[in-house]
Amino acid sequence: MLAKCRNYVLLFAKSWCLLPALCAWQSAFADGPQSTPSIFAPTSTPAHEIYDLSLFVLTITGAIFVTVAGLLAFVIFRYRQRGEDDTTEPAQIYGSTQVELAWTVIPVLIVVVLFLTTARMIFAIQDAPEPKAAVNVTVVAHQFWWEFNYPKLGIHAVNELHVPLSNPTSPTPTFLTLLSADVIHSFWVPQLAGKTDVVPNKINQVWIDPHYTGMYVGQCAQFCGVQHAKMLLRVYVDTPEQFAAWVKNQQQPAVQDESVAAGRHVFETQACMNCHTIAGTAATGRFGPDLTHLMSRDTLASGAMANTRENLREWIRNPDTFKEGSLMPAMQLNDQQLDQVTAYLATLK
């Protein structure tokens, strides 16, 4: 029995040691993006503030756990029945007002401290003023892809968000206005900020202030339908030069390459235009993503697969191969049409 109790407590302690161990290992601390989007690897101001707060809360709750669980472990050892035939009853204690008061007052004090710290941070993040140099992006969430519009720069992007690097001395954060075209989604890139829901008929806002360049991953964090799992996000934090170059490219109309005219003809006659826009052509559909700069992206279908010609061709042939239940229908094109339209789309840099 003693062995069993000891084993139980040890097992418990061991499993909870995993957590701080992981934190220590995982927080390679934020000098850039990681393939694992850990909330303990912040690279942007709001994420960093949350991280600091979380360490504070972890310390307090850790202390509470060690104290109370320690007491419990003590009780289990010290007050267990020794000897099967010991049938005398221990002293019956019915209560104690002082003790009850003590263990009411102490939690109240802890709550006060935690609440005040938390409230301060809520206001700091949620009500942060927007500096003049901030970049503005309007995010429109769809089932199952992301649309990014930069009103001041006059450009549209899809699924892969580019923002400029910020630095503490002259911050250039990005303020994102969140709109939904259909159901509730949620914008979450853990290394950059906490998540904010994207709610139809409501305007929400979130801001990021990244201090390290690179590509950060995230995904939709509110169940939005069949392909919620593959509504992924990529945020590219660019140096100012890279960002300016990217913006300039996005501002151009679509590349006009006569060698793929056959493919463009397929595109324009096969109902693709009903859903997609290609700037500078007759295609102005708004239901699906803007394809003007399709080849400037690393992935297709909001991160579902890499942007290669084979994947693109297969996607057009049958979207269900990669993203079963996505809202793009299979267009029933024959092989020749597929080759042509893929060749055309492959020129849209």
Partner: protein, 563 residues
Amino acid sequence: MADSTYPIPGSLETTPRRWSQADILEWLNSWVTTVDHKKLGILYMLYSIFFLLVGGAEAIAIRIQLIQPNMHFLSPQVFNRIFTMHGTTMVFLVGMTYIFGFANYLIPLMIGARDMAFPRLNALSFWLTFFGGLLLYYSFIGGSGLYGAGNAPDAMWWAYAPLTERAFSPGHAPDYWALSLIVTGFGTIGASVNVIATALCMRCKGMTLMRLPLLVWLNVVTSGLALITITPLTAAQVMLLIDRYLGGHFFDTQAGGSALIWAHFFWIFGHPEVYVLVLPTFAIASEVIPVFSRKAIFGYPAMVAASVAIAFVSLGVWAHHMFTIGMTSVGNAFFVLSTMLVGIPTSIKIFNWLATMWGGKIRFATPMLFCTAFVVQFLLAGLTGIMLSVAPWNWQLHNSYFVIAHFHYILVGAIVFNIFAGIYYWYPKVTGRMLSEKLGKWHFWLFLIGFHLTFTVMHIPGLMGMPRSIYTYEADRGWGTWNLIVSIGGFIQAIAVLVFAVNLIWSYFKGKEAGNDPWDAWTLEWSTPSPPPAYNFATDPVATSRRPLWDIKHPEDPDWKYE
């Protein structure tokens, strides 16, 4: 001798007999038409355990699909149905039913009454719940919908609008969800009314309200809370059906309706609901821990006050499920405060259980093993709850696997552990036989190890950015190993539950005879034979204190001297 109308297990029968077809039909009829609280309690528990197995099978399916990235065990559509049904089943068909299983069986016995206040309402409530559950599961086979076979609910157990509006869910999945829960909801209201009326109006002489066993108190508080918790869900579901079938616009964002208001209404139900689920768990712990520590519960009045406080405060915390939805900073701050405040009466209860064990002579029979694990696990769950109540941190943790780990720590680590404790504790009373201690210990240790492998480890992928409700995940996110461990833990828990099922069945026929009072306990149900006769008590008992049997067993030191 026991003259209950169900077959007495094994050798307790006085005359062995052969069962003719007429006997079997009569036996079935006695169960289907019963209004006896004991039989209905058993029916509720059998229903609950059955759906625990069904929901558990759904969980295993989920864990197989997620064991590694890019598995193809379940298609996205089927996965979404399975996890929605898993949640809906566990909350409504397992959680809400175990409550009334224990309450119905034990409350009349504990207060010295012959039956519940409204026996026929009791039966009606059970059968409403029963048929609601059947309707929910019929959805798997009823009709074909637009996305292939079946219409099982597939929009999460919260069924957020406008995803559940006609425009985005053209099949019948949300309809099955709403209708079946409306039906079970009526069953719950009926059962809650019955519990309150029984506890307030049917007590034996001498049992004042402050002498009620804590199980009864906690079930009264639960039932009162349930009355104002389930009804908002019913209202919201009616609104959803009006939108879907009568062209209403409650949640129709295109017509100016609000997606936000569904979230508010749902969580106004959803948060107090989890307290409805957990308070009867405290009830079981508050009966088991004193008996196995050989001491009276420490601070009875404080425990009663804390339970009532929890019920009240829990009505004001709902939007902590919505910290990311875009409320104002003041709104967020308010709900941070209210959520932290509800932690205070909850922690008082933990301290009182600890103090009950302090200075006792703790016997670690199977019920006590489960209750001890419950205390630690509940403490941890409360602490991760505090972490989640810190709104900015919540903006990272919300809808991630951290939240799933947190609430499963409560639902499994607190509630299921205590259900097991309660079954091991009262099975002798219900059947007249003890459950096997050996199998019980195997069940406990396997389940404990499996539980921690799954749900303690599960916090980690959450912290590493893994959201919930996803049928698969990218291979390069680093979540694969953790998911593997989590899934293995799930399989171990499944084995443990199988051991439990074997124990239940084997012990019914071969378990040791229990007698009236195998645990040397102190509440009135232990004064009846095991199983109790249909009328419960041959003569009306009189309660002299909170522990009537202690007074009888210890006439030199009765409780009423100290109360």
